[in-house]
C-alpha cells in the first residue's frame, strides 16, 4: 500500500492542478485552458498571467511548507512540532510586515531575506525559552504562545501604521491572491533546499530512533539536527515571504503522510511534499470558489481544518 500511494497522490495532484486552472470567479472548460496559453487568446490573461503562476505557486509553497514540517517533526521527534506551530512562520511574517511598514518604498525582492531573519530569531527565541530537552507539550505550547505574540505585534504595527494596512492585511492570514510570475521567480532559488532535504532521508530515519541509537549507527546527531532545522527555517521563510504564514500546513501534511506511507523518510519526504501541495491547492481552490467573486485567504481554509487537527493531536499526546 505504501509504495502505491505515491502514484495515487501524483494523480490527485495533477487533477487538482487542472481544476485550479478551470475554476474560479469564471469557470472555463478544459479546452479553453489549453488555448489560454497562446498569446492573444481571449483567456490568455486569466490563464497564463493569473491562474497558472498562482497554481504553480500554491503547489510549490504547499510542498515546501509540508517538507519543512516533516524535517522538524523528524529531528525533534515531536508530532506537535512544525514551523507554524512553533511560531517560526509568524516570526517570519512579523519581520516581513515590519519591513513593509517601515520601508514601504524598499525593494520587495529582499522580503525572503527579511523573513529568514525573522524566522531565525523566532527559532532562537524558542530554543532559548525551552532548551534542548523540553517535553513535547511544553515546546508546542510555548510555540503557540510565541506565534500569538508575533501575531499581536503584527496587529499593533497595522494599528499604528494604518496607511500600509492593505499590503500587510493580505499577508496576515496567508493568501495567494495576486501572486504571480514575480513571486514565482522570487521563490525559485529556494527550491534548491528541496534536494538538500531529500539528501538527509537516511540519517533522518536513524535520528527518529533516538540520539543514542543514531550516534551508535554513525550519525552525527547534533549536526544533523542543526542542518535539518536550518533547512526547515529556510523553506518556511521563503514561503512566508511570498504568501504570508499559512497555518497548520506544516503540521498536518507530514502527520497525514506518516499514516499513509509509514515513517521511512525516503518515501515520507517526497510523499509529504505531494500531500502538502494537494492540501494547499485544495485550500486555494475552495477559497476562490466558495463565494465568487469574493476570495477568502487560503490560510483561513487551512486553519479551519488544521486547528481542530492540532487540538486532537494535543489531547492525544500524553
Amino acid at each position: 500500500m505504501a509504495t502505491r500511494s505515491l502514484p495515487i497522490l501524483l494523480l490527485i495532484l495533477l487533477g487538482l492542478l487542472v481544476a485550479n486552472l478551470m475554476f474560479g470567479a469564471v469557470s472555463l472548460p478544459f479546452k479553453h485552458i489549453i488555448e489560454g496559453f497562446q498569446v492573444g487568446n481571449a483567456n490568455y490573461f486569466t490563464i497564463h498571467e493569473y491562474r497558472f503562476p498562482r497554481t504553480i505557486l500554491a503547489m510549490l509553497v504547499g510542498a515546501m511548507m509540508a517538507l519543512a514540517g516533516a524535517l522538524v517533526q523528524g529531528v525533534i521527534r515531536n508530532p506537535l512540532a512544525s514551523p507554524d506551530v512553533l511560531g517560526v512562520s509568524h516570526g517570519a511574517g512579523l519581520a516581513a510586515v515590519f519591513y513593509m511598514t517601515f520601508f514601504p518604498s524598499a525593494d520587495i525582492s529582499w522580503l525572503p531575506a527579511v523573513a529568514l531573519i525573522g524566522s531565525l530569531i523566532a527559532a532562537l527565541m524558542l530554543w532559548w525559552l525551552c532548551g534542548q530537552h523540553s517535553s513535547t507539550i511544553k515546546l508546542a505550547i510555548t510555540g503557540v504562545a510565541l506565534a500569538a505574540l508575533y501575531a499581536s505585534c503584527i496587529d499593533f504595527l497595522m494599528l499604528v501604521k494604518p496607511l500600509e494596512i492593505n499590503n500587510a492585511l493580505l499577508w496576515l492570514t496567508g493568501s495567494l491572491w495576486g501572486r504571480g510570475w514575480n513571486q514565482l521567480a522570487m521563490l525559485l532559488p529556494w527550491l534548491l533546499l528541496i534536494p538538500c532535504a531529500l539528501w538527509l532521508a537516511k540519517p533522518l530515519n536513524l535520528i527518529y530512533l533516538g540520539d543514542d541509537s543514531a550516534i551508535s549507527l554513525g550519525v552525527k546527531a547534533s549536526t544533523l539536527r542543526l542542518v535539518s532545522l536550518a533547512i526547515a527555517v529556510g523553506l518556511t521563510a521563503s514561503c512566508v515571504a511570498i504568501c504570508g504564514p499559512i497555518g497548520f500546513l506544516g503540521l498536518v501534511a507530514p502527520h497525514l503522510t506518516r499514516k499513509l506511507v509509514g515513517g521511512r523518510h525516503q518515501l515520507l519526504l517526497p510523499s509529504t511534499m505531494l500531500v502538502g501541495a494537494i492540501l494547499l491547492l485544495l485550500a486555494d481552490l475552495a477559497a476562490r470558489t466558495i463565494d465568487p467573486p469574493i476570495e477568502l485567504p487560503a490560510g483561513i481554509m487551512t486553519a479551519i481544518i488544521g486547528a481542530p487537527y492540532f487540538l486532537w493531536l494535543l489531547f492525544r499526546t500524553k
Binding site: W199, K202, N205, L206, L209, G210, S216, G218
Partner: protein, 255 residues
C-alpha cells in the same frame, strides 16, 4: 586491548557520575557491568559507545581517541543497544532491523544482497522472522526489545555494548538472549553488557566488573569476584555464595 578508558570522568550537566576510571576491556569475552542503581555503569557504557563525551580523560579504540575516529567507520566496530528506545511510528520490523545496516549502505540506504542475508539471519537468531511485516509500535515490550537487539546485531560489529538487554523480557526470552550472547561470543564478538541480575551475570559472563559510586570496586572471573564481603560492601546485602547445581558457577542467595 582494543577498548580502554584512561582516567575517564563522564556524567551529565557538569556532574561527574563516572570518576577517573581506568579500564581495559578483555577482548573476546562476555563482560558484565554490575552495581547498584546510579553507580555509573550505564554512563560508563555510554561513554565507551561515544554517546557521552568525557569531561576528563579519554576512551581509546585501537590506540586512538574514540572521538577522533570517523563516525561511520566506528559504527562498523562498536554497536550499542540503549536501555530505552522511543517507539517509532509507522516503521515495520524489517525496516527497523535494516536500519542496522546503515554504516555500510550509501546515502539513500539501498540494501544489497549481503545486507539482506545478514538481516534475515539476525531476525532468525532473535526469533522475530514472523514479525517482519508488523509495525514496531504494535509489538509488546519484550518483542520490541528483541527487534532492537536484532537491529544492533545487523550492525555486524566485533564489539557489542548492551544496556540492560533483558529488561521487558520474560524469563524464557531472557535465557534465550543469554544463550544467543554466548553463541555470538563463540563467533568472536566481544560483548559488554549492563545487567541487573547478578546470578545471570555469574552464569553466562566470563568477566564481571563491579562498580559503586562511579568507581570500579573489583573485576575478574565470577568466582573471584562474587564474595560475601562484596555483596555486603556494594549492595548492602547479607548474602551467601553457593554453587549453581547445573552450571557450577557461583550463585548468590540473599539471607
Amino acid at each position: 586491548m582494543s577498548l580502554s578508558t584512561h582516567n575517564l570522568s563522564v556524567g551529565y550537566h557538569d556532574k561527574a557520575i563516572v570518576k577517573q576510571v581506568n579500564l581495559s576491556i578483555p577482548e573476546g569475552k562476555i563482560i558484565a557491568l554490575l552495581g547498584p542503581n546510579g553507580c555509573g555503569k550505564s554512563t560508563l557504557l555510554k561513554a565507551m559507545a561515544r554517546i557521552l563525551s568525557p569531561m576528563e580523560g579519554h576512551v581509546q579504540w585501537q590506540g586512538k581517541n574514540l572521538h577522533s575516529i570517523a563516525s561511520k567507520k566506528l559504527a562498523q566496530q562498536l554497536a550499542l543497544l540503549p536501555q530505552t528506545q522511543p517507539i517509532p511510528e509507522g516503521i515495520k520490523v524489517k525496516d527497523l532491523v535494516a536500519y542496522g545496516r546503515s554504516p555500510y549502505t550509501g546515502f539513500w540506504g539501498r540494501l544489497n544482497r549481503q545486507d539482506q542475508l545478514i538481516i534475515d539471519s539476525v531476525m532468525h537468531e532473535t526469533g522475530i522472522t514472523e514479525l517482519a511485516d508488523q509495525l514496531v509500535s504494535e509489538l509488546s515490550g519484550g518483542q520490541r526489545q528483541r527487534v532492537w537487539l536484532a537491529m544492533t546485531l545487523a550492525q555486524d560489529t566485533p564489539y557489542l555494548l548492551l544496556d540492560e538487554p533483558t529488561t521487558y523480557m520474560d524469563l524464557s526470552h531472557q535465557v534465550e538472549l543469554m544463550h544467543l550472547l554466548r553463541k555470538l561470543n563463540k563467533q568472536g564478538k566481544t560483548i559488554i553488557t549492563v545487567l541487573h541480575d547478578i546470578n545471570q551475570a555469574a552464569r553466562y559472563c566470563d568477566h564481571l566488573i563491579v562498580m559503586k559510586q562511579g568507581s570500579i570496586i573489583t573485576q575478574g572471573s565470577p568466582d573471584s569476584v562474587l564474595t560475601q564481603t562484596l555483596m555486603k560492601d556494594v549492595f548492602s546485602l547479607n548474602a551467601q555464595i553457593h554453587r549453581d547445581p547445573i552450571a557450577k558457577t557461583p550463585m548468590c542467595v540473599v539471607e
